[in-house]
């Protein structure tokens, strides 16, 4: 460690330095970075809480409908889904079952949550520019608290849908316990994408527009309004490559069809459209992706204030 001699007070001695060894050049390893991120987040618990509170307050402060907004997006998805499904049902002549509506409702809220998370997390660093350039705190808290605020929103929507499900013919079974597992995976997946995209958006502002385009058309390559089995044997496999798809389909199968997700499921046409390893695939995206994007975020964090 360099020592700079301090001799007397009131003499300017503190600023007359003596030079010794070169400054240390330390590169932290991947694991040290992960540990640092966890420590940072634990240290800023209060900050995360206050920022989440701020985001929620701002959203509802001057809004007429208040928390009813939390339901708007899922309702729009279900409404659009009904229209599409009705057209398909009419064309194929099979009719529209109550369970299909329940399946759409079950998938609409998580999808709205995922879209909402990416929409608020991606610009979270750039829109807090006055904080990022003026005060130091672990920057991870900005996308994280944006996603937490969105989670509170979606939780309300989710509870309302849960209350409606019995009327759509859903009954209790032990398979419902898959739902919390899948929702946790979805939350971590959203955080992984949110961290990466918010950081990318600082470096390249076009990321925000790319995300918007993808989210607008994402509903067509994610089984939200339609079920994955409707895409056929090859189509369903390709569809399931989308890491959100197994979560949404898993939720529908577990809640509406009481399917044990560790058992493959066959479509009425006789091909397998749910394979248990889809779960592992999505978990890898969620947890592996989170660690990787958190480290990328952490390593580029020090340049944020200059680039934003």
């Amino acid at each position: 460690m360099t020592t700079i001699e301090l001799e007397r007070r009131n003499s300017g001695a503190a600023v007359r330095e003596q030079r010794l060894d070169p400054p240390p050049d330390i590169r932290p390893t991947f694991l040290e970075d992960v540990r640092q991120i966890v420590a940072d987040i634990r240290w800023s618990k209060n900050l995360i809480y206050q920022l989440t509170l701020r985001d929620i307050r701002i959203k509802y402060k001057q809004a007429v409908f208040g928390f009813a907004w939390a339901l708007l997006m899922p309702m729009a998805v279900v409404g659009a889904g009904l229209a599409v499904r009705f057209a398909i049902a009419f064309y194929s002549g099979k009719g529209l079952a109550l369970g299909q509506i329940a399946g759409m409702a079950v998938k609409a809220v998580p999808w709205a949550f995922f879209v909402g998370c990416l929409n608020v997390a991606t610009p979270s660093l750039v829109s807090n520019v006055s904080l990022v350039t003026k005060i130091y705190f672990p920057r991870e808290v900005l996308p994280l608290s944006a996603i937490l605020a969105q989670s509170v929103d979606s939780l309300i929507g989710g509870l309302i849908v849960a209350c409606l499900l019995p009327f759509l013919g859903v009954i209790w079974s032990w398979q419902l316990l898959w739902a919390p597992v899948l929702l946790v995976m979805l939350w971590f997946l959203a955080l992984a994408f949110g961290l990466f995209l918010s950081c990318a958006n600082i470096f390249f502002r076009d990321v925000k527009y790319i995300v918007q385009v993808f989210l607008t058309f994402g509903i067509f390559i994610t089984p939200v309004m339609l079920d994955v089995s409707m895409y056929g044997p090859t189509g369903s496999r390709i569809m399931m490559l989308n890491p959100v798809a197994p979560i949404l389909e898993g939720l529908r199968l577990a809640i509406v069809h009481h399917q044990n997700l560790l058992v493959p499921r066959y479509s009425p046409d006789g091909f397998i459209f749910w394979r248990p390893w889809y779960l592992a695939y999505t978990a890898l995206w969620a947890f592996g992706g989170l660690v990787v994007s958190a480290v990328i975020f952490h390593r580029s964090e020090r340049r944020f204030a200059e680039l934003v």
């Binding site: 360099t2 700079i4 330095e17 402060k61």
Partner: protein, 394 residues
């Protein structure tokens, strides 16, 4: 807190003039260059870059207050940003050990739609205060800011002064191990400024390391044990506050200075009895130097200028010729200059120079000494008029 300190070790910081690539079109060629290893290095200057801070080192320990002064763009705020970890040095090493309290941009985290109360909790959290501390100190913070009536009003309806006062009050109630201050002394009205400055002085006197940047040189003179003068990122002068301020003030007047002609040379300038006098008291300045030739009437050998560090402006000019004083003959001289400090309390710079009255240019480099005037509690205002009272017998 043991061993709280601020350390800067050979720090360099590079900035880029002009645009940085912001979109993919610019990125791809740049990435390609980086891949083949011909991209710009972080540590060297490439086209359009400049050093905002060059080779700066210092250490501030408990009980010390370091001031950084210099013209705009000299790297003062960049230095503080590196200390607070907002930006990283390009070269070298810097650290702040302990809990850092910053009085910089004190209302940066405010959100206009939230009330003052909500913003106190938010800003406190951003500055790293634990929740229970904010709860405990909430009333103190609001009292100090003096806006308790408006605390439940959204901040967007505040005046800019109220905004700044609330922000300062939050920051001032941190319990830091280290204090970093950037130009926040000009907050609010006069009475609040005094209160704010008193608060900063209390924090600094509690024995923690303090670093401050300010253009109010009298504040620097009053607070700092050490001082660095920066210009274009490099250290010009380092030493006591008086030394650095003298160098700074004189660099302003550099245009007036011509080559020293050697007709008059000053050796030393000192205040007899230390640098502090009570307002209204007499004091002496001892000036020693040499003259090399018989001086004509157009040479003013001892020109005295007094400058207020609050404003940086000259408040008094006089000279030996004006007062009918002649230096005896060529050779060394030792002159005592008597002055009366009819001044309000504050910090002043007494400069002595020789001037050619024909061309109005200094012909000997000015030397200077700093004067502290303390309150005599006999007057208030800009100048002492020696008020005398007597009862008129009729």
């Amino acid at each position: 807190m043991k061993d709280a300190r601020l350390l800067f070790d050979r720090v360099w910081k590079k900035f880029h003039r002009g645009q940085i690539h912001d979109s993919l079109r610019d990125l791809i060629p740049d990435l390609a260059k980086r891949l083949v290893g011909r991209g710009p290095s972080d540590k060297e200057l490439s086209e359009g870059d400049f050093w905002a801070v060059r080779d700066l080192s210092f250490e501030v320990r408990a009980g010390q207050t370091l001031g950084i002064i210099g013209p705009n763009g000299s790297g003062k705020s960049t230095t503080l940003k590196m200390l607070t970890r907002i930006i990283q040095p390009s070269r070298g090493y810097c650290e702040a050990t302990g809990r850092v309290g910053t009085l910089i941009e004190v209302s940066a985290g405010f959100h206009g739609d939230l009330t003052g109360r909500e913003n106190v909790y938010l800003q406190g959290a951003i500055m790293g205060m634990p929740k229970r501390d904010i709860v405990r100190k909430f009333d103190q913070i609001v009292d100090f800011s003096g806006i308790s009536d408006a605390i439940d009003t959204p901040v967007k309806r505040y005046s800019s002064g109220m905004n700044a006062r609330l922000g300062f009050s939050i920051a001032a109630h941190l319990e830091p191990d280290i204090l970093i201050i950037d130009e926040v002394l000009a907050v609010g009205d006069m009475s609040f400024q005094e209160r704010a400055f008193g608060r900063i002085r209390d924090l600094a006197n509690s024995g923690i390391p303090v670093i401050m940047v300010s253009h109010q040189l009298d504040r620097i003179a009053e607070m700092c044990t050490d001082c660095i003068l920066l210009d274009q990122g490099a250290v010009v002068t380092r030493g006591t506050a008086a030394e650095a301020i003298a160098a700074y003030v004189q660099s302003h007047d550099a245009s007036r200075m011509v080559e020293s002609t050697g007709i008059v040379m000053f050796d030393n300038l000192c205040l007899e009895g230390g640098g502090t006098v009570r307002s209204g008291d007499h004091f002496s300045v001892r000036i020693t130097g040499r003259t090399s030739v018989e001086l004509g009437d157009h040479i003013e050998p001892i020109l005295v200028r007094v400058r207020s560090l609050r404003t940086g402006g000259l408040i008094f000019v006089s000279g030996s010729q004006w007062r009918g004083f002649k230096l005896p003959s060529p050779g060394p001289f030792d002159v005592c200059l008597r002055l009366q400090a009819n001044l309000p309390p504050g910090s002043y710079m007494i400069e002595v120079a020789a001037e050619d009255l024909n061309i109005h240019e200094d012909i000997a480099s000015a030397t200077s000494v700093m004067l502290r005037v303390t309150d005599s509690r006999t007057f208030a205002g800009h100048i002492q008029l020696n008020a005398g009272f007597s009862v008129v017998e009729s």
